[in-house]
């Protein structure tokens, strides 16, 4: 009898494998959880862009209300693609959009904003790229949703599209605003 059971072994192995595939299909392997998720925003001190007000200089600037914090640079093509979406979000007035420019020259950033429009509330200027590292930035653009207490609630890797805004970010921000 046990000899006969051996012949069922391959079937058993496959059944287990199929189970994993079913679970695997419902997940996205590219979706990396941020280590900072549900953690308070790290402390930072930044200069603003020369001649542009208001600056984003420290953690306290982000606290007290739900905000979007967007990492960008004039060198980044995907940021330009995201640009009009950020402008629409700012115009909608649901949430202030703050920005941190990194790996960039202040003049280039200012020229870029003049040319393509400036959707930001406060802008910080990351001279040493240290802040980008502390936020665990892997590319640009990346955007954080930060709640009233200064805790990171969501991280968007890559450009925000109208769809991501409507389906993910806006509902989340509305929830956070109520809570």
């Amino acid at each position: 009898m046990t000899r006969k059971l051996v012949y069922f072994l391959p079937l058993l192995v496959v059944a287990v494998l199929l189970g994993f595939f079913i679970v695997g299909l419902q997940r996205d392997p590219r979706e990396l959880p941020s280590v900072l998720l549900d953690q308070p925003v790290p402390e930072f001190a930044l200069p603003g862009l020369p001649g542009r007000e208001p600056p984003l200089t420290e953690k306290a600037d982000l606290q007290g209300e739900v905000v979007l914090l967007n990492f960008f640079g004039s060198w980044c093509a995907a940021c330009l693609q995201e640009h009009p979406v950020l402008q629409r979000i700012q115009d909608e007035g649901l949430v202030p959009v703050h920005g941190i420019a990194f790996k960039d020259q202040p003049d280039d950033t200012l020229r870029w904003l003049k040319r393509h429009g400036d959707p930001y509330d406060r802008i910080g200027y990351d001279t040493t790229n240290r802040i980008a590292i502390e936020f665990g930035i892997t590319g640009a653009p990346e955007t954080f949703v930060i709640d009233k207490a200064g805790v990171i609630r969501h991280k968007q890797i890559g450009p925000i599209t109208d769809r991501i805004w409507a389906e993910t970010l806006r509902p989340l921000i509305e929830d956070l605003n109520e809570g």
Binding site: Y7, V14, A15, L25
Partner: protein
């Protein structure tokens, strides 16, 4: 109009395939010959309908009919003709159509060349083959229609990914598919045999050529993909253990095992249920490969359009095929009676060991490939499994494999004389020791060189042992040269095939070991006139210029390669191309090969702040890489030579039967279908 004809032909094909999968099966069950014979005209009709659909899609690409969504997404009027054609299968929908076409071609080949098969086995195998086709036709019609229209039609297409605009890659997918799909034949025969409840020597002889054909294509297809990655991606590597690479390599491992175990079934009428299981597993792994590549369950450097809906469909297909066949296996396989017994030290014994090692290797690579999926599903976090894991587990499995590979062919069937065989291999042992010592000294004699020197010695061992085995067969130097020549001519082609393939493996081993151990690279910024030395050779940078290609702009660097004495060996002109449609950069490495070592130069981005005309450059000193390609070609050639062996050829069934009867005198039952084969 023509795309609609293609679409219609696919639907028609679905109905033909449905008929082919039901009627012959019922006929075989009832012993109704007329119903069984439906399989043959149906195979022809199926091939014609799929062929029409394929031609229709190719036509749409050739005339750049951008009202077809697939053409719009993957083609462009500026594209050279070759890549308009290869664009047909350079995308998900088209490659599926190619997959189905190849299924139909194999089905047709059995219908046409399988005249000497027992009608019942043929009917059942063709029915199973048609069932697979039904599955894939449903898949393409419901989730991936290549003939979908867009209205209004765009003015021009989005273009084929420039990385794919390359002759090496143009033929890589069709070769791989011939391999993957070829294993479907072994699968269909295995299922047919399970339904009949009988596996014998004759069955193995019918299955082997199809497996061999699939194996040849898969071997060459993998080699072609590796070659493409080597010269086109510009990172100087040829294998990365990426999930998509593994997806083709796992079926290759189990297919190689199947190839060898089928010999045991044919010659010794034993290992039957294991061979059947391998046939099922090998094709299942081919299906799994398709699933992994197209469903997006694993991340990979290969960007194939992934879509969860398609993933669910392939998973369903996979589940039906694998669960169905393995259930049948669990039910019927215990009734298969084993034939001849054999001692552990015997040709069968070594082939069995080969099977154990190859299957373990396949399972290990599969585990490593799927581990990120398991970990994610069990919430153990996101992980990736890379080359260190695969190298650490794969190499120890291959060492005993190579050692035994040299020994196996020297042993007799049933009971072999290990000591005698080892004695006859003294020459190989001496050669291995000599190569080991020489490599060790030349490499510098450091502690870390021992492993690499051992690997080179292992390759030499297999190479010389393969030569010795051939020399023994023709009794070289032991009889008159004329007599040896007569024996050499009379040796079966299958024997030559084995020798060639094993020698190819030896070269492959030496290439892999040597390149891994002594590869060198250097990355730097160079201004015109700068010289970089690597691997004893120097590269002089003369400067770079901007050139325009048909559908790209490129910066082209000029280098002069010199050897130790300062003699100029070659000019190297690598390019970095910026394609316009779609916008993407590619690296065109410049490679000079002297047959043993490749000298590999890549030009990167300009770096003007480091001086006028300065560029980022990369050089790779790639020793023994050409051996990889020679080895793979020899393996493929060995397969082809073996395929032309008399016993596989059509038109010589009577002789084959006589030889087969003699070979199977050790216990094989004469096949009942024998009369039908003559």
């Amino acid at each position: 109009m023509i795309p609609e004809i293609g679409h219609f032909a696919l639907v028609l094909g679905l109905f033909v395939a449905l008929v082919q999968s039901v009627v012959p099966l019922v006929g075989a069950q009832r012993g109704n010959l007329a119903m069984m014979e439906v399989a043959r005209p149906a195979s022809v009709a199926l091939f014609l309908t799929i062929g029409v659909a394929f031609v229709a899609l190719t036509h749409s690409f050739l005339v750049s009919d951008f009202s077809v969504s697939n053409v719009y997404m993957n083609s462009h009027t500026d594209k050279p003709l070759l890549y308009k054609i290869t664009g047909v299968w350079g995308n998900h929908e088209g490659s599926l159509l190619l997959w189905i076409l190849i299924l139909a071609v194999f089905s047709l080949a059995v219908a046409v060349f399988g005249r000497n098969l027992p009608p019942m086995l043929r009917a059942r195998a063709l029915a199973v083959q048609a069932m697979i086709t039904v599955g894939f036709l449903l898949f393409i019609l419901f989730t991936s229609n290549p003939f979908e229209r867009i209205d209004p039609a765009p003015l021009n297409g989005r273009g084929l990914n420039p990385l794919l605009q390359d002759p090496g890659l143009a033929f890589h997918p069709p070769m791989l598919y011939m391999g993957y799909v070829g294993f479907s034949m072994a699968f269909s025969f295995a299922i047919a045999a399970l339904i009949e409840g009988r596996v014998d020597a004759a069955w193995a002889r019918w299955v082997r050529p199809w497996t061999l054909l699939a194996w040849i294509f898969l071997t060459l297809g993998i080699a072609l993909g590796s070659w493409w990655a080597y010269y086109e991606l510009g990172w100087g590597g040829w294998w990365y253990w990426d999930p998509v690479e593994n997806a083709s390599f796992i079926p290759w491992l189990s297919g190689t095992a199947l190839l060898h175990s089928a010999i045991v079934v044919e010659k010794r009428d034993t290992l039957k249920s294991w061979t059947i299981l391998l046939a099922i597993i090998t094709f299942s792994l081919s299906l799994l490969g398709t699933f992994l590549v197209r469903s997006g369950v694993l991340t990979s450097v290969h960007a194939f359009a992934t879509d969860p809906t398609r993933g669910v469909f392939i998973l369903l297909l996979l589940a039906v095929a694998v669960v169905g066949s393995l259930s049948l296996y669990a039910w019927r396989a215990p009734q298969l009676k084993g034939g001849g017994v054999f001692a552990p030290v015997s040709r069968e014994g070594t082939l069995l060991l080969n099977n154990v090692l190859l299957s373990t290797a396949a399972a290990t690579v599969l585990l490593g490939t799927l581990y990120p999926l398991f970990a994610d599903a069990l919430n153990l976090g996101k992980v990736s499994v890379g080359p260190p894991f695969f190298n650490a587990v794969f190499v120890p499995l291959m060492i005993p494999m190579i050692v035994v590979m040299a020994l196996g062919p020297m042993l007799a069937w049933k009971r072999g004389d290990a000591l005698g065989a080892a004695k006859r291999l003294w020459l190989a042992l001496v050669a291995a020791a000599a190569v080991f010592a020489a490599t060790y000294v030349v490499a510098g004699g450091a502690w870390t060189d021992v492993g690499a020197a051992f690997g080179m010695g292992l390759g030499a061992w297999l190479l010389v042992a393969t030569g010795v085995e051939w020399a023994e067969r023709v009794q070289l130097f032991r009889t008159s040269p004329a007599n040896s020549l007569k024996r050499a001519v009379g040796l079966p082609r299958a024997a030559y095939g084995m020798s060639l393939a094993h020698a190819g493996t030896a070269l492959l081993v030496m290439g892999i070991v040597g390149n891994t151990a002594w590869k060198a690279e250097s990355i730097q910024v160079m201004a015109p006139g700068d010289v970089v030395e690597i691997g004893g050779h120097s590269y002089l940078f003369e400067g770079a210029e901007t050139v325009d290609g048909p559908n790209y702009a490129a910066s082209r660097g000029h280098f002069i390669l010199r050897d130790e004495d300062g003699t100029a060996l070659a000019r190297l002109d690598p390019e970095k191309r910026q394609y316009t449609s779609p916008p993407q950069t590619t690296t065109e490495a410049a490679i000079h090969s002297d047959g043993i070592t490749d000298y590999y130069a890549v030009i990167g981005d300009p770096s003007p702040d480091q001086g006028p005309g300065a560029y980022v450059t990369r050089f790779y000193h790639e020793p023994f890489v050409p051996l990889l390609w020679y080895g793979a070609l020899l393996m493929g050639l060995g397969g082809v030579v073996s395929l032309t062996d008399r016993r596989h050829r059509v038109g010589a069934p009577t002789r084959a039967r006589a030889r087969g009867a003699a070979a199977s005198a050790g216990g094989a039952v004469a096949p009942t279908g024998a009369s039908a084969r003559v």
